[in-house]
């Protein structure tokens, strides 16, 4: 049960990463590797502020802002200096590795006995229910686990709805259109360059937020924790798109969250079944590869369809 709840909580927390990757990969078709660095940056900033007794909410928001700055950098490097998308992300990601070490002062910051969002959630839960342990279907569940799961769910729902609403505003539709047809939106008076910078800032703010929550959940920030995160986010989106199968914004956002949770569950099951944790990233990469080529492969199997136009 603890395993299941843990997988659900991490899945929900990392769904913010998936939403960030959704903005860069799907809205802008921008393969933004900054994510690997900004998720660690979010964790590092939050952890260091928490250790210095800053209020958890402030620390978490500061982490998101730091991620936003990282994304802005990538966007500016790409749009103002004309550097290739992938390379812009790689440059910032590499620079962030050193930055993260500087922020943390060492390679790992433990968050033991520090007030964090997790302890706040636990406190709120205990004072609300008055219980120290609770039973779900006869399983004994630690209050802390239940409280963090509920908090993670709340945070994810809040961010997901906010993101959905954002894409219904004038600014949000212009951002979507910048990815969909840059030539058209430029002719309608929108600077595609500014939109890319703003989009990457938003994307990496969400990813850093995910990192900040992850650090508070698992109780430490580590300089290595971001490696391969972009691929995990992409895997979640692909699973989510397969789950909902609709190209509507609301469904895609809900799908990314569901995909992230399902992905973590699959990982938990695979680890439980004896998968070597060292192989996890290899398996994930192979999975994403297969998921990317599968649609084209299936189309070829079902035979060439006549052109629609």
């Amino acid at each position: 049960m603890t395993l299941l709840i843990g997988a659900l909580t991490i899945g929900l927390i990392l769904s913010l990463l998936a939403l960030g990757v959704f903005i860069s990969f799907r809205v802008f078709e921008f393969p933004d590797i900054t994510a690997d660095g900004s998720i660690t940056l979010g964790a590092a900033v939050a952890a260091v502020l928490l250790v210095h007794h800053v209020h958890p909410v402030v620390a978490t928001l500061a982490a998101a802002c730091a991620g936003g700055i990282a994304g802005t950098l990538t966007g500016v490097i790409h749009t103002r200096f004309g550097i290739n998308k992938l390379l812009s992300g790689i440059l910032v990601m590499t620079a962030l590795y050193s930055t993260n070490l500087h922020v943390m002062g060492k390679s790992n910051v433990p968050l033991l006995d520090v007030r964090s969002l997790a302890t706040l959630a636990e406190g709120a839960f205990t004072s609300a229910t008055g219980a120290a342990t609770l039973y779900i279907f006869d399983w004994n569940v630690a209050v802390r686990d239940a409280a963090t799961l509920i908090a993670a769910f709340g945070a994810t729902a809040l961010v997901g709805i906010a993101l959905y609403l954002f894409f219904r505003t004038n600014l949000g539709t212009a951002m979507q259109a910048s990815g969909d047809n840059p030539q058209m939106i430029r002719a309608l008076g929108v600077s595609v360059e500014n939109m890319i910078v703003l989009g990457l800032a938003l994307s990496n703010a969400l990813i850093a937020l995910s990192g900040a929550l992850l650090a508070q959940y698992q109780g430490f920030a580590d300089v290595q924790m971001g490696i391969g995160m972009v691929v995990w986010g992409l895997a979640s989106i692909i699973i989510g798109e397969a789950l909902v199968g609709v190209r509507q914004l609301g469904f895609i956002i809900a799908g990314a969250v569901m995909g992230s949770v399902l992905f973590r569950l699959l990982v938990a099951i695979a680890l439980r079944a004896g998968l070597d944790p060292n192989d996890l990233k290899l398996v994930t990469a192979v999975f994403v590869f297969c998921a990317l080529i599968l649609p084209g492969f299936l189309k070829r199997l079902t035979g060439p369809r006549p052109a629609t136009r």
């Binding site: 004038n170 539709t173 979507q176 259109a177 969909d180 030539q183 058209m184 002719a187 008076g189 136009r309």
Partner: protein, 270 residues
Amino acid sequence: MLTVNAIRKTFNPGTPNEVRALQGVTLTIPTASFVVVIGTNGSGKSTLLNALAGTFLVDNGSIVVDGTDVTRWPEHRRASLIGRVFQNPFSGTAPNMTIAENLVLAARRGQSRGLGWALKRTARQEMRDRISRLRLGLEDRLDNAIGSLSGGQRQALTLLMASWLRPTLLLLDEHTAALDPRSADHVIRLSEEIISRDKLTALMVTHSMQQASNLGDRLIMMHRGAILHDFTGAEKRRLRPADLLARFESVRRAELLDEPAAEMLRRTYA
């Protein structure tokens, strides 16, 4: 009112691929004038439109729209004055967004875009009214994705979007060249309606001699990055497709001479 003063543009200067696309184009177009631009391939007609729209900045000269010097303005800033329809029907609309969303984007052309709600319920009736004037039956499909529309429907929609807010200058760049004849006819008729109803100042590039002789109140023929002929008033009205073809033929014949020979002939007979 559009004033273009001696604009020049050279692509890839100093390389073997150097193209002198615009070589000193000067042009004044009064308000509410509908100008048709024709010319051979590579004559610079599309380049002229792109220069006006700001796709690139010109090397020399100036572009003034209604008293505002826009020569150094980037493309997205000029959009507040200029509406455009492209040759490629896929260029003017966002395929993964709905018709209503595309119209909403066009309704804020050149304006700031904040966190206000994009699709207001009250705006839908105006959308239905204006889109029904396209006579394509799209008014009941506001929530369909653009990707499900045909090229002709998309081009009609792009035209509506370009003119949703009255543009100071409307640029039509061979906007019917990629359409089947029926759709092309329809889009041309819509263009004429919108331009005359809203009294727009418009520039239209075309390859069709039929369109060139039927439409507009002025005709410009370009060649080698410069304006070769400029017909207005009664002269423009008298022009028939055959006359235009004859002009092209004489251009082609002059082309057969090499540059120095042509220059010598010009000096002798001018």
